[in-house]
Amino acid sequence: MTHALPAGPQPAPRRQVFIGTGLVAGAGALLIGGMLSIWLRFRANAPLRTSSDGLYQIKDWLPEAIKIPEVITNVNLGTFTVICIMAQWAVYSSRRHDSRHTTSALGLTFLFGLAAINALVTTFTQMEIGVADGAYQSMFYAITGTMIALVAGGLGYTLAALFKSIGGRATNTDLMSAHALYWYFLAAAYVAVWFVVYVQK
């Protein structure tokens, strides 16, 4: 026999996409955090060498010939800031049932996301290093490549939200909030990578 339980009231609106995205963002944070911790471990264990000006003993981690294009990596910080503002604009607009502004905000998020990937790839070309050149180089490509993959995932997310918005579901605030959350995570992850890999090297 089956047991008849009383039907419950209509459940409150569920933030399923937001919670799921939060979990993905948490997993992504641990992915980047784990990779950065290994990076720091290698840097800490590197032998010492005399700096090029002969004044200091420094860790022999970043090969002397490699110059990181800091202008690009610093400007990319601004790009991620703008992306977060755009993603939040989409949330603001969707809460006000303003589909035109939601779509515009998502479109701009996508464009700035492309710019962020472009900047990350440009660092590769300007540094002129090969992935097979040594330990630093292979690890540099691994961690920045992972960052690019995560940003590409963000672009896919933005496209999905954009199509939903164009398709008349711009008022799906759960989706828009979740989308913004993912970009906030990406911005935080980039700040960590920027500080450890590009600034502290």
Partner: protein, 542 residues
């Protein structure tokens, strides 16, 4: 009314009346391959995990037989030994423990929560296929001279790629599972009223979400380095050093965490009453999940304790206890409180409790063994003692899995396993686990090295220990195969189970057996942690 009977319709496979048998078969395969029914996704995970479990135990037996004569006859080529040990560990951890526990949770949790479906069911299905594809690639690459220490560079790359894909698949399925627990609970079901298994799925899921991305990041580094540079991570020989933590203790406790909750749930039902210390069980399960901290740090936190000051000793003791002692304490709490609940109630003889209870006992023995082996003066580092711990934890998890299949089988298939078979196979599996692992504990104290099949000798009956261990692995393989055959027979043509064969307490037993495709017509309302006891006739609670 929130339930409906679907005995007549059952499956949602597209009707193929009038078409060929091949067409019907293909339609069935397509329906399973693209299903969004959480019960099917869970059963796919469980079925494949048990098949891999039998194969993994058989490999364990093969390696055990190889060790019997440490300097004599050899079945295997010496250059395959390292790969076989890798295959054995990867298969049992990533092919058995993780998917078995995930499968059980995916199949059961939405039903327990009063939910119609899994959150992001397609993501869970995607996770299943990613896990399967990654696992097959990883195993195949080991077979083709890849894997840790492998001689074929391309196959080593492929192994790392497969392992990474496998981890991504597991993460996808876990995100779906944890989101379900957080969001899809029935009205009135606060987290503290969630069934223990669902609570364990959330806690264990979080623990996996903490550790698997760290593993994935390491695998990415290893892949890029091994494929292009071989300058940072020690090439093929460095793989075990960098990702070995994922197939050793305490990380294996994370894989077993959901199983701890499963045993607690079965024990509650066997006690026949509301558990008075339910909160303690939830705390115990949560504590076990703290093992994730040990995994995420990728370090063994041992005790040296020789020629060190009291301050140094305390400094070593704290991480040792937090990362390794707390999970064991959690299992002790769950076992103790479960036994207390059984003693205070009017316990019934429930066959699924046998393998589940014995399995959790085995997990505890593995955890306690790990506490001993981390005590450096004991001199157990690098010996087969550590292999014994691994076997205790993973085979214990398998036993819990067998208990879970026997317990929820009626809800998933509509039929139940014969009690005598579950009793017998539970005891056989217990015997196999003890035989496979305990001699390794003894041989560890005699300094038999881990990961080797020859070139060692020590005073004592080393052939006896290795023979017993090999026989134990073989027994475990036989247990799993017999269980699969029994389940296949019972779930297709066995005794119909009825909707609530265990006189249980949670929502999954309020729907017909097998559970209908969408579980519930509408979300039921609950007002306690034991919603079925609230509506059963007075006096049904013992």
């Amino acid at each position: 009314m929130t339930t409906f009977d679907t005995h007549a319709s059952g499956s949602h496979v597209t009707s193929t009346s009038g078409s060929s048998a091949i067409g019907a078969f293909l339609a069935g395969v397509a329906a399973w391959a693209t299903t969004t029914d959480h019960k099917r996704i869970g059963r796919l995970f469980i079925g494949l995990a048990l098949i891999v479990g039998a194969a993994g135990a058989a490999i364990g037996a093969l390696l055990g037989f190889e060790r019997i004569s440490a300097d004599g006859y050899s079945l295997l080529e010496s250059n395959t030994i390292e790969q076989l040990f890798s295959l054995y560990r990867v298969a049992l951890a990533f092919g058995v423990a993780i998917p078995l526990m995930l499968g059980i949770a995916i199949a059961v949790v939405p039903l327990q929560l009063g939910s119609k479906s899994l959150a992001f069911a397609r993501l869970a299905m995607f996770g299943f296929w990613m896990w399967l594809a990654g696992f097959v690639v990883a195993v195949a690459s080991i077979g083709a001279n890849g894997g840790p220490g492998g001689g074929n560079a391309d196959m080593v790359d492929l192994f790392l790629l497969g392992l990474g894909i496998c981890a991504v698949g597991a993460i996808a399925a876990i995100v779906s599972l944890v989101t379900t627990v957080l969001v899809n609970r029935a009205p009135g079901m606060s987290l503290d009223r969630a069934p223990i298994t669902s609570w364990g799925a959330m806690a264990g899921g979080f623990a996996l979400l903490v550790t698997l991305p760290v593993l994935l990041g390491t695998v990415i580094y290893l892949y890029v380095d091994h494929r292009y540079a071989r300058a940072a991570f020690g090439g093929n020989k460095g793989i075990s050093e960098w990702i070995g933590w994922a197939v050793t203790q305490p990380q294996t406790y994370v894989y077993a965490a959901i199983g701890v909750a499963v045993m607690a749930e079965i024990a509650i039902v066997a006690s026949g009453r509301r558990h008075p210390q339910r909160f303690a069980l939830m705390v115990g399960v949560g504590i076990v999940s703290l093992a994730a901290l040990g995994g995420a740090t990728q370090m063994q936190h041992g005790l040296t304790w020789t020629d060190t000051s009291v301050g140094e000793k305390i400094k070593e003791l704290i991480p040792y206890l937090v990362f390794n002692g707390l999970p064991a304490l959690g299992v002790l709490v769950v076992l103790g409180v479960s036994v207390l609940g059984l003693a205070m109630g009017k316990p019934r003889v429930m066959s699924p409790l046998v393998p589940a209870f014995l399995g959790l006992g085995m997990v505890l023995v593995g955890m306690l063994g790990h506490l001993i082996s981390l005590f450096k003066p004991a001199g157990l580092a690098g010996t087969v003692f550590e292999e014994g711990e691994f076997v205790y934890v993973v085979y214990g998890t398998v036993l819990i899995g067998l208990g879970a299949v026997a317990y929820w089988g009626p809800k998933l298939w509509g039929r139940r396993l014969p009690d005598s078979a579950v009793f017998g196979l539970g005891l056989l599996g217990f015997l196999g686990t003890v035989l496979a692992a305990f001699p390794m504990y003894i041989a560890g104290f005699a300094n038999q090295p881990a990961g080797q099949v020859d070139g060692f000798t020590y005073g004592g009956p080393q052939e006896l220990w290795n023979t017993l261990s090999a026989a134990g692995h073989a027994l475990m393989a036989v247990t799993v195969v017999l269980f699969l055959l029994t389940a296949l027979r019972a779930f297709t043509a066995g005794e119909l189970s009825g909707d609530d064969p265990w006189d249980a307490q949670t929502l999954e037993w309020s729907v017909s057996s097998p559970a209908p495709h969408d579980n519930f017509v509408s979300m039921p309302s609950v007002s306690s942690a034991e919603p079925l006891l609230d509506i059963k006739p007075a006096g049904s609670e013992k």
